[in-house]
Every structure is written in C-alpha cells, then in structure tokens.
Symmetry: C2
Amino acid sequence: MSSALSSALALDKFVPYRLAVTAGAVSRGLSAVYEDRFGISIAEWRILANLGRFGVLTAGALAEHSTLDKPKVTRALQRLKSRRLVSRKTCRADRREVAITLTIEGERVYREIATLAQSWETQLLAALTVTERGVLLRALGKLDARALRMSETQDNPVARVAP
Amino acid sequence: MSSALSSALALDKFVPYRLAVTAGAVSRGLSAVYEDRFGISIAEWRILANLGRFGVLTAGALAEHSTLDKPKVTRALQRLKSRRLVSRKTCRADRREVAITLTIEGERVYREIATLAQSWETQLLAALTVTERGVLLRALGKLDARALRMSETQDNPVARVAP
DNA sequence: GCACGATAGTTTCATTTGAAATCAAATCAA
DNA sequence: TTGATTTGATTTCAAATGAAACTATCGTGC
C-alpha cells in the first residue's frame, strides 16, 4: 500500500541506524537493572566503572574514558561525592587537576553493580554464538576507530581518508 | 600505577559499553554530515527516512519505527511541517490519527540525505570485511531482540527468560 | 442514544543537557 | 619577574527532554 520511494534507504540494513537502535535497547535494559536498585545514573555508573578499572583518574581523564562531556562528569561527580562513593583531591603536582578515587563504600557499590552488569551481559550474549561475540567486538572497535577518523578528516579540509 | 580493583570489569570487552561508545561515535559522525548541510536534526532525519521508506505513516507508527518518544515526534513534525518537508492530514476513518507524507520538497531532501548517508556508510563499512558486516547486522538484530525480551521479563515477575 | 474506558496526539512543566563563558592554575615569551 | 596563552574544571543559561496531564475522538456496553 504505502508508496515507498523506489530508491528508498533500507533502514533495517543501515548500520548507523541499527547500531543506534540496538545500543539504545541494550543501554536502557542494563541501566534499568542498576538505576532502580542503586539510584545510580548511566553517567555515574560509567564513572564508577572507569574508577574501578583504572584506580585514580582526573576529571578530564574520566570524561575521555567514559565519553561523557565535561559538565556531565562534573555533575555526576558531585552526586557521587555527596553520596560518599568517590573522594576528590586536588593534585599536588598540578593544582588545576582533581584526582578522583572510589571510597571503600564506592568500591563496594562498584563491585555489586559490576557483578550484576556482568551477569546481565552474560544473559544478553547467550543470544550469540562465541564466534559472533568475537566478530562483534572486533567490528565495533574497527567502526569506532573509522568513524572517529572520518569525523576528524571531515572538519579538516587538508587531510583525506585513505582509500 | 593506578590501583585497579583485582576483579575489575573489563570495559573494553563489555558489550553494552562498547555498543554505546561505537553507536555514539557513528551517530555523531553521520549526523554531522547532514545537520550542518541541511539543518536537519537526528530525530527529523529518522522521520524523513521512515517516510521515505514506508510512504504514509501516522505519528504513532513513526514513533514506533524510529524509536522516538511521542513528544519528540510531535516536535520534529512541527519543524518539518514549518519547513514544508512533510504534510499532515487527519485520517478520514479515525480522526484522532494524522497521516504524514513527504512533500515533493521533502522527497528531494530525503533523497539527497539518503545518498549522502549511504556513501558515508560505505566509507564506514570499508573498515570491515564482507563477512564481518553480515555477522554484525545479524548480531545486532539478535541482541536487540534479546535486550527487549529481558526488559519485558524484568518488569513482569511471572515471565522468565528461556534458558 | 449515553456513560465508560481506551487510544492518538499534543501540551505542560520540572529536569537535564551541553555549548560557551568563566575561573583558576600552569606554562610560555619577552 | 610580568603579561599573554593554554589548559583543567566548573558554572551559566538557553534549549532540549520526557513523564505525566490533557484534549479529542473512538469503540463498547447498557
């Protein structure tokens, strides 16, 4: 019935669209698990996760690792600080920087959520074969790198993407 | 140096995180291409794309197809309407529904962006082998379905995910 | 018919967002 | 030094967001 354009874009095979949809569904599904149980937002969880993984980080490093913008990091840290899950200390060497670490309580919460997140992921990945999981992760890495590279060269008229 | 927790979650292998990061990079990269050139937002493009693909759709169907919430659809439609890229008509059969179609100009813009988007995707996918592309799309589909299913059964204590 | 609840779409409003401005400290140049 | 510039982090503020309330219409039972 509905008169689609002859040369219409096949959205169901269009990778940017499919990525956005799946990432959204997965993100909402997982965050629901810890948001209502711990009152932790996605941004807050990303920060906890990176602190759990890397130990000490500055606010800027956190922004980079967790791909959050600076104001989001500042605000998430304020909430985490007020709940005593992280502690902040201006760096001796460069007093513009703030070193962030998990408190004991922060580590406890991190570990609880990490366990939950991991078992949620296990259930999710049960939908895939082992091979598919490997290819998926590798493909995501390649696409990520390529997308960033394309964005860079986009703004910069001198540089070109290699063929 | 940085004292990571012994049992830390390996973020670089954690699928929900990797999906979010890659989807974000790809989405930003692509939208930059049409946002500055056409002044079309992501939500607006999704609507154009679905109209281009399906011809006529109600606002509700658009929301479902494009995974946007209702207010977002309403507002995106207002902007598209004011730019005369879509036309609205209340349905004869059920006068609560509004049938949306692309105008001639809307079709033109749709086709232009679709062409751009497709060539952008081609450049992106050059990072992957043909096999990887296939596996990626299939995996995304499976993950999407599974994530939705897990979210449903989460809220509903009776249902359980099959093993 | 007329009340009832359900559904499509819009609007409201308190919250969230993020680009740009700001502040503070470090680094560079003269 | 001292002024100019850059960099890390925070704050501001206008715009976007989305849950809930609302409006309009539909279908159903009485």
